[in-house]
């Protein structure tokens, strides 16, 4: 079923401009003593330096589990890496195998080499600490800076993500900020240690559309300014079209198709990708019509089954 459209990831060679390479990754959750559920079933992809790769799929497709496993965050939820490799190029140039790294080393890697921004900034920020201190915490921990030095880096980060009136915002608590501002703070925090890969897991899903546009523009501008790679997890094909260089489409734990953003949108080969794209309303598609129009139904029988 999977279409191996991407030539690079199956090869074991780790190319010069590759930042992250995931090969045949399998992640399973224990349902009870005997049964397990495989949420990620043999996923392979690679991300190059400065590139934005979108992992797109509907709920339950395994896209978030894949992203969380790259940061080794799924083990806390009872998941087990059942197979495959995740290799990452560190800033030092050393290539590390993440799947077998001891937890202490993984902790040093989080934030410094890879960082993650989640969908809901309110539950990712600690409500009882000022946002400036929360950004500074990671800098103190990973870079061993003094408190004043870390605070000044934190302030620069807030300015970088275009938080207006950044000096004053440093001393605000999360509840004093709007959803869009909180997400900017999360991005500032993720950027603070200059990671080479940032994972954004549905970062704009909870935001209003005008605010979403601001955040997407910000991510693109930051990428140009500091040249980091982005793994962008989303269910929204509109967002994919705006931000991605390459796209992997996930369905039930597998990548069913991958390719450049143009290949996916204009020459999709897999039935599921075609169904997914047909179901997305494209603004401007109704310009010549007065009456409403049902969605074209592209049948794809990966139908929902009651649990």
């Amino acid at each position: 079923m999977p279409v191996p459209a991407d030539p690079s990831p199956t090869a074991t060679a780790f190319e010069d401009d590759t930042i992250l390479s995931v090969e045949d990754l399998r992640v399973s959750f224990a349902l009870d003593r005997r049964r397990t559920f495989e949420a990620v079933r043999g996923v392979s992809f690679a991300i190059r330096r400065g590139e934005t790769l979108a992992l797109v799929g509907e709920s339950g497709s395994g896209k978030s589990v894949t992203a969380m496993t790259v940061m080794r965050l799924t083990e806390h939820d009872g998941a087990r890496i059942a197979g495959g490799r995740i290799r990452m190029r560190m800033k030092s140039g050393v290539i590390e195998e993440i799947t077998t790294l001891p937890e202490a080393r993984v902790e040093r890697l989080r934030g410094a080499e890879i960082s993650i921004v989640f969908q809901d900034p309110m539950s990712s920020l600690n409500p009882v600490f000022r946002v400036g201190d929360q950004i500074a915490e990671g800098i103190i921990r990973h870079q061993g800076k003094s408190v004043p030095a870390a605070r000044s880096i934190a302030l620069n980060m807030l300015k970088l993500v275009r938080v207006p009136d950044a000096e004053r915002r440093m001393d605000h608590y999360p509840h004093q900020l709007s959803g869009g501002m909180r997400q900017r703070v999360m991005i500032a925090m993720a950027l603070a240690c200059r990671p080479s890969l940032m994972i954004l897991d549905e970062p704009t899903t909870a935001l209003d559309v005008t605010i979403q546009a601001q955040i997407l523009d910000l991510v693109r501008a930051l990428q140009q300014e500091i040249g980091m790679s982005v793994l962008f997890i989303t269910h929204d094909m509109g967002v994919v079209a705006e931000i991605a260089d390459r796209v992997c489409v996930m369905l039930k734990g597998e990548i069913v198709e991958s390719g450049t953003v143009d290949e996916i949108f204009n020459h999709a080969r897999h039935g599921y990708t075609q169904a997914l794209i047909a179901a997305v309303p494209r603004l401007g598609s109704m310009t010549d019509q007065d009456a409403p129009e049902p969605f074209p139904v592209v049948a794809y029988s990966a139908e929902e089954t009651p649990a």
């Binding site: 509907e58 705006e242 143009d262 401007g284 109704m286 794809y300």
Partner: protein, 318 residues
């Protein structure tokens, strides 16, 4: 609209719902005595009609008042002033009978199909409950009707005795639609009814709503933040901003010739699922959606609507 087949004898060109100058505000109180320290001006001077068989989309961002309009129409909030007429009958301060009749003919579908179904009730009971309240027949008759409703939303009647937890989000939302259909409504208010669904499921649920509308000439008030979905299914569109309708008109005019700056902004910020149309310009602005909270002594400046065409109106900006 005109080709809608219907079994009803109702006049299809007469508005089913007429909302005039609707104002809904919420007091903010503080202190021991509960002194009013401010008001949320959630809905200000909102007026619109919906005719049978028509979908009016109410669009806007969070806090713009679109859900409060819906809740005010459904008598779930008490408006400060204005008029809501249903089938020619005033509902604000109306008789109990009029309100009961309205409650039977107008149904609501909410955003979250997980919290809007009772987890301890079987699907059969969920669907039969509204019919029982309005005493529409014996239990055997109602059960048969529930099976028909389930079939209409493409779910097998064997599912009648299951509980909500056995269904996926899309299936639950279909059950919510089936429940809304139980009383053969003339008006459905769908408040972000497809917002939480996966996109392929969303397309199916929207197609279902459109089918039902064509079949039964149902009027739909479709509340959404998603302009791309609205473009697909609405006959007319009202754009709300800070409690006001800033632009209202037929869908084609509003989308192809938006007049109000906010409508233009809203349309320009929507991600289009076409990489060839990726925006070239960077918008690194940080402006936020302003708050609708005002001091208690705030006097609102009235702004009239200007007519652009026979079917298109825009709010004057000051």
């Amino acid at each position: 609209m005109s080709n809608a087949s219907t079994s009803r004898k109702a006049d299809l060109s007469r508005p089913l719902v007429e909302v005039r100058d609707l104002v809904t505000r919420f007091d903010l109180r503080a202190g021991l005595m509960g002194k009013v320290v401010g008001r949320v001006h959630a809905v200000e001077d909102v007026s619109f009609d919906i005719i049978p068989g028509e979908t009016l989309a109410l669009v806007g961002e969070s806090g713009c008042g679109k859900s409060t309009v819906a809740r005010s129409i459904m008598q779930l909030e008490k408006p400060v002033s204005g008029s809501i007429r249903y089938d020619g009958v005033e509902l604000l301060g109306g008789s109990r009978q009029d309100v009961l009749r309205f409650r039977r003919e107008a149904q609501m579908v909410f955003q979250d199909p997980f919290s809007s179904l009772n987890p301890r009730m079987t699907i059969a009971n969920t669907l039969m409950d509204p019919m029982r309240v309005h005493r529409l027949g014996s239990d055997a008759e109602l059960r048969a009707r529930a099976a028909e409703l389930l079939a209409r939303v493409d779910l097998p009647p064997e599912h009648l005795d299951r509980f909500p937890h056995a269904f996926s989000g899309g299936q639950r939302q279909r059950i919510c639609i089936a429940r809304a259909l139980a009383l053969d409504p003339q008006l459905i208010i769908a408040d972000e009814a497809v917002a939480s669904l996966d996109v392929t499921i969303q397309a199916q649920v929207i197609n279902l709503l459109m089918d039902l509308q064509r079949e039964r000439s149902i009027a739909i008030l479709f509340i959404s933040h998603d302009m791309a979905v609205v473009e697909r299914m609405a006959h007319r569109v009202a754009v709300m901003y800070l409690g006001e309708i800033v632009e209202i008109g037929d869908r084609r005019s509003v989308f192809t010739a938006p007049q109000h700056p906010y409508t233009r902004k809203l349309l320009s910020t929507i991600p289009v699922a076409d990489p060839a149309r990726r925006p070239r310009t960077r918008n690194l602005m940080t402006e936020e959606i302003p708050s609708a909270v005002r001091p208690p002594d705030f006097v609102r400046q009235k702004r009239p609507m200007r007519q652009i065409s026979p079917t298109h109106w825009v709010r004057e900006s000051n």
